[in-house]
């Protein structure tokens, strides 16, 4: 009896989290007059709403922009994050303690304080409306450095020492020896970074005005508030569906990694 109640509650929860998404997808495929219904079915499913979105905004282009930006940011965060993390964990050098404190300090800074100055920097460098503006400010992250450092601390020193005896340089040790051992932390950093970057919308709204360079969440935002949707619910839902599908598909394959990565953000607090 108690178990039945538990399952009932869990199923209600499942409905609360899943139904809105199903309703969104169904709504994007239904004729305008049927969208507001509660049921998910329709006799006349149509792709009309998607045609509207595709003709009104360059969403394919925005998808590519988002891919370019998110992949560049992710690759860069993993590369540089692991470099600094390795230096802090396994090398002794002048200023290493100061650098580590600086990185912890960086994690504490609320982004509100640097946002406007960062924007002005982009304007002054003439970088607005470029990929560089979208990528550069998030190319490295203090949090990823801390994650890498923590993971690398656990790598046995003897392993690194013996590689040094064999004459390997530090870069070789990092890329050839440590990287292959570090899949868990790399996946964590990559998943978190990619997801954050893909969903970022405030920064693109600030530094990009050229439609050809807009990211996907940005163009969907402007589509929804800018009147291009002409208050057609179907096309709004279609745009939202197009925006969420890539992440939902990635999530359905790698959901374990997404959830485990997010669990590690707990140590940030």
């Amino acid at each position: 009896m108690k178990t039945t109640l538990k399952y009932a509650l869990l199923l209600v929860g499942a409905a609360i989290f899943a139904y809105p998404f199903l309703w969104m997808m169904a709504g994007s495929l239904r004729p305008e007059t049927e969208i507001t219904r509660l049921s998910l079915w329709s006799k006349d499913f149509t792709i009309h709403s998607y045609e509207t979105v595709l003709t009104k905004v360059p969403i394919g282009r925005a998808f590519l922009n988002s891919i370019v930006v998110s992949l560049s940011v992710t690759a860069s965060v993993v590369l540089f994050g692991s470099m600094v993390g390795y230096a802090l964990a396994k090398l002794r050098f002048a200023g290493s303690r100061a650098l580590y404190l600086l990185i912890l300090f960086t994690m504490m800074i609320p982004f509100q304080i640097v946002l406007i100055p960062q924007y002005i920097l982009m304007v002054k460098l003439g970088l607005t409306d470029t990929y560089v503006a979208l990528i550069a400010p998030t190319m490295m992250s203090a949090f990823s450095i801390v994650l890498f450092r923590q993971f690398f601390m656990a790598v046995p020193q003897a392993l690194i020492d013996s590689a040094r005896v064999d004459g390997c340089g530090e870069f070789t040790i990092l890329f050839r020896l440590i990287w292959p051992l570090s899949r868990p932390v790399m996946v964590t950093v990559a998943v978190l970074t990619f997801m954050t970057s893909w969903n970022e919308v405030l920064w693109p709204l600030m530094v990009v005005r050229d439609r050809a360079l807009m990211t996907m969440p940005q163009i969907v935002t402007l589509f929804s508030i800018g009147g291009e949707a002409e208050s057609q619910l179907g096309s709004l839902l279609a745009a939202a569906t197009l925006l969420s599908m890539p992440v939902i598909i990635a999530y359905s394959f790698f959901q374990r990694f997404f959830i485990e990565s997010m669990a590690t953000t707990g140590i940030k607090g």
Binding site: G13, M83, R92, F93, L99, L115, P117, V220, A240, I259
Partner: protein, 297 residues
């Protein structure tokens, strides 16, 4: 600690590789952290629209802020958001994580479903909820009518709009906190419950005296992360309400954005960002102190 490493490695060579390993980050730090921080300290004393030269105005940005009703409105709105969002999130996340932590089938499936909104773009979620919240034809009001209740003016009443956004944000983020609570629950030693059972403690007392105190570190993390999240609230009101009705959903970040990009007041926007950063740091510090001091019995 590791004498051997430095014995094998001439110190200078270690220093040189370390330099190349950290140099890119130091450069990045100077450009995107240190410089903006320093520049913000300069900006707060200036009036500037980026185009014309900067004009030194001393503390006028701060005196303006103290007399700016919209700043206090945005601060108040954020506190309303947090006042609903944080308790709601803790209760819902704790409830579901306790359900998931018991012996049930399909645990991974449920956990994955509850986590789904976390990964989806906030823009998509907001567009979706705009339809759910619609007064005349929205799904939520249709459901209310179905059970004979009056419709709720989710986004069109100034007293309801911010709570509506808080509910939506809870729906979107609660998956993270379910996962964090699950980790916390699994870290509680079984012996504690066994000992309590032998002493004849009822389940609800076990919850009160073992589970809840042992989850204290998780709760601190949740409160701090939600607070930082609440102060970053931007895209939800931007898409959903534009800050209305009657500025009731004007969030701090939205106000900074409007000052910078609709009015071109870069100096004042930077001042708002500066003050908001101080507010956030203060609140987070106080939260940690208060929650950590709670008696652990």
């Amino acid at each position: 600690m590791n004498r051997r490493a430095s014995g094998i490695q001439p110190k200078r060579r270690g220093d040189r590789s370390a330099f190349w390993l950290v140099a890119p980050y130091v450069l990045f730090f100077c450009t995107f952290v240190a410089y903006p921080l320093a520049f913000s300290l300069l900006l707060v004393f200036h009036r500037w629209n980026i185009v014309t030269p900067m004009e030194w105005i001393g503390l006028k940005n701060f005196t303006r802020l103290i007399g700016d009703p919209l700043f206090f409105t945005s601060l108040f709105n954020t506190l309303v958001f947090l006042g609903i969002h944080i308790p709601l999130q803790i209760v819902v996340a704790l409830g579901f994580s306790l359900l998931l932590n018991s012996r049930i089938r399909g645990r991974g499936f449920f956990r994955a479903l509850y986590f789904l909104p976390v990964v989806v773009s906030g823009v998509a979620v907001t567009i979706l909820w705009q339809q759910l919240y619609s007064y005349d034809y929205g799904v939520l009001n249709s459901l209310l009518r179905l059970v004979g209740l009056p419709p709720v003016p989710w986004l069109i009443d100034s007293g309801v709009a911010m709570p509506s956004i808080a509910i939506m944000a809870t729906w979107k983020n609660v998956g993270i906190y379910i996962v964090l609570f699950l980790v916390g629950l699994q870290n509680i030693p079984h012996e504690l419950y066994e000992a309590a059972s032998i002493d004849g403690a009822k389940p609800y007392r076990q919850f009160l005296h073992i589970t809840f105190p042992m989850l204290n570190p998780t709760i601190i993390v949740i409160v701090v992360l939600s607070t930082i999240g609440g102060f970053s609230l931007f895209i939800e009101p931007y898409v959903l309400t534009g800050g209305g009705p009657m500025q009731s959903t004007l969030s701090g970040m939205l106000y900074i954005y409007n000052q910078a990009f609709y009015f071109g007041h870069m100096g004042y926007a930077a001042t708002l960002g500066f003050v908001y950063a101080l507010v956030i740091l203060t609140i987070v510090l106080v939260q940690r102190k208060v929650i950590e001091r709670e008696p652990v019995t």
